[in-house]
């Protein structure tokens, strides 16, 4: 098959671009793909041979060249200190946190490389998603307090009073537990 751009050389690279939900497919030869992805071989002093690492960083770089130039420069991973620029040069992240650090500017490029930006498949056995984590950390008291608010808003005062008492009970219990679990601490009067 011939290259869609120059119609001369054999197409070796398949390129899909999704812009605003419109899919554009192209079969390109190495030369045109190089131009298309605009990676700077000459600037880095590398031979003109197409190199996958460069092609990848070319793709990554290209998407955000204009709009996110400033953002790119300022973004840096807090954990390992890698900058987005540095990532573009060698196509490799420095640590697990980089994905989150660069997520915003990186997602669109990831779509280009992988055709998706969301994992489907195996998850670690005890893995808890962020939402699950938040839910698991909500205490009984928090739940009651939310219900109490709701009851007050709906002017269901009897229910509100019941909830208020329940919360008081729970708080008292919690305080007692804390006291019991910290030996050597001065005991406080239980009806404070």
């Amino acid at each position: 098959m011939l290259c869609d751009k120059c119609h001369k050389r054999e197409a070796r690279i398949y390129c899909t671009e999704i812009v605003n939900g419109v899919k554009k497919e192209q079969y390109l030869c190495e030369e045109c793909a190089a131009e298309y992805a605009s990676f700077h071989l000459e600037a880095v002093g590398v031979s003109k041979e197409v190199n996958l690492g460069n092609l990848l960083s070319g793709l990554l770089d290209n998407v955000y060249k204009e709009e996110h130039k400033k953002l790119q420069e300022s973004v840096k991973c807090k954990e390992c200190g890698m900058t987005y620029e540095e990532f573009l040069t060698n196509g490799k992240f420095g640590c697990a946190n980089c994905y989150e650090a660069f997520g915003k500017i990186f997602d669109k490029s990831l779509l280009q490389i992988q055709g998706s930006d969301k994992h489907i498949g195996k998850i670690p056995k005890n893995f808890m998603s962020k939402t699950e984590k938040v839910i698991s950390e909500i205490t009984e008291i928090d739940k009651m307090s939310l219900k109490l608010q709701d009851a007050v808003e709906k002017e269901e005062f009897e229910e509100a009073a019941r909830l208020r008492d329940l919360i008081r009970e729970l708080r008292k219990k919690e305080a007692e537990e804390v006291v019991n679990h910290t030996p050597g601490q001065k005991e406080e009067p239980s009806n404070a």
Partner: protein
């Protein structure tokens, strides 16, 4: 114990083997490019300790520090696909955990902290995957793995993120290759997110008409769907290769039969031979055996011979460093001795 490539599998006239690779990283260490020498040492020791006494259907596992092995041992393992060229060239502390029959292993501190690899003979990706998955389960029991609910398993390079899964088949395509169809086939399958490349992976030329075919994308598709869609493509390739074999055999049976026997004869009586020639001739004998032109005694697979005559494997087998002339003589001797006898018709 039989090596994995001595086991029989489905479609093994075309599919030589199935391989699964899972990329994983430990949460507490930075990735490869940011890992210090000390970090690399700690990573190795921690993984070694965590996987100690691990055992499964392929027997016991052994751990070794690759930096302590000789060049030849390591390069021989690259030829057998147990190690990647990248890990051999790496100076930092790195290691390998390998099962007794060499069908499963974990590379420590390759591009990612852990690269789990499993192999089976023939077309049997499901088995290969479920074994890799078991090893992965054990790893996740012992270590906290870098995982994100959006991006999945986090890897050093974003081309592996998500499932971290690369499923690849080693396939023997003499008829398609002989007809000059490989380039077209490669561009055809790439439309479906599948890569076709030479025997020794990225950038390597094919030897003896053996190719690797694998999934490109690792994110956004369930492991089982990745394998299923790769299988669908491979089944198409198998179909094409079979059709082509049938066609050439119908058209030129006598010439091909002659070629197969000649190749057999040369291999049987050659006194010295280089890798490339030996691979080409073995490929023709394999083609003859796979299509029933000749039939061979015993179970020894031609593919196994192909692995054993690679330069470093050969040297490793003889236990000493030798020059290329001597190597060619050793290779010839090995082939003379191990080439299966022809069954009389």
């Amino acid at each position: 114990m039989l090596k994995w490539f001595e086991q029989k599998g489905e479609h093994d006239d075309i599919v030589i083997s199935s391989r699964v690779r899972l990329a994983r990283n430990l949460k507490k260490y930075p990735f490869g490019v940011r890992l210090t020498e000390q970090g690399a040492n700690e990573l190795f020791e921690e993984v070694k300790a965590g996987m100690e006494h691990y055992k499964d259907v392929s027997g016991n596992y052994f751990t070794c520090k690759l930096n302590e092995l000789g060049e030849i041992d390591k390069l021989a393992m690259v030829e057998r696909h147990i190690l990647s060229p990248q890990i051999v060239n790496k100076k930092q502390c790195n290691g390998l955990i390998l099962s007794e029959d060499e069908s499963a292993g974990i590379m420590i501190n390759e591009e990612d902290h852990l690269r789990i690899q499993t192999f089976t003979g023939g077309m049997n990706m499901k088995t290969a995957f479920s074994r890799a998955n078991e090893i992965d389960d054990r790893i996740q029991e012992k270590f906290e793995i870098a995982f994100d609910e959006k991006y999945g398993y986090l890897t050093s390079c974003p081309t592996n993120v998500g499932t971290g899964l690369r499923a690849s088949y080693m396939i023997f395509l003499p008829a398609l290759s002989g007809a000059g169809k490989i380039t077209k086939l490669a561009s055809e399958v790439s439309k479906y997110g599948v890569t076709l490349r030479g025997l020794y992976g990225e950038g390597s030329k094919s030897q003896a008409d053996i190719f690797q075919i694998s999934n490109q994308k690792t994110l956004g598709t369930h492991e089982s769907d990745i394998i299923q869609s790769l299988n669908n493509i491979v089944m198409q390739v198998i179909k094409q290769e079979r059709l082509r074999r049938e066609y050439v055999l119908n058209k030129n049976y006598n010439e091909i039969e002659d070629q197969v026997y000649r190749s057999y004869g040369v291999l049987k009586y050659t006194r010295q031979i280089n890798t490339k020639d030996a691979m080409t001739l073995l490929s023709q004998v394999k083609f003859g055996a796979d299509t029933g032109i000749i039939s061979l005694e015993g179970d020894r697979s031609i593919y196994q011979m192909m692995m054993n005559i690679q330069p470093y494997g050969l040297q490793y087998g003889f236990g000493k460093n030798i020059g290329s002339v001597q190597r060619e003589r050793l290779r010839a001797e090995y082939i003379n001795k191990n080439l299966p006898e022809l069954k009389s018709r």
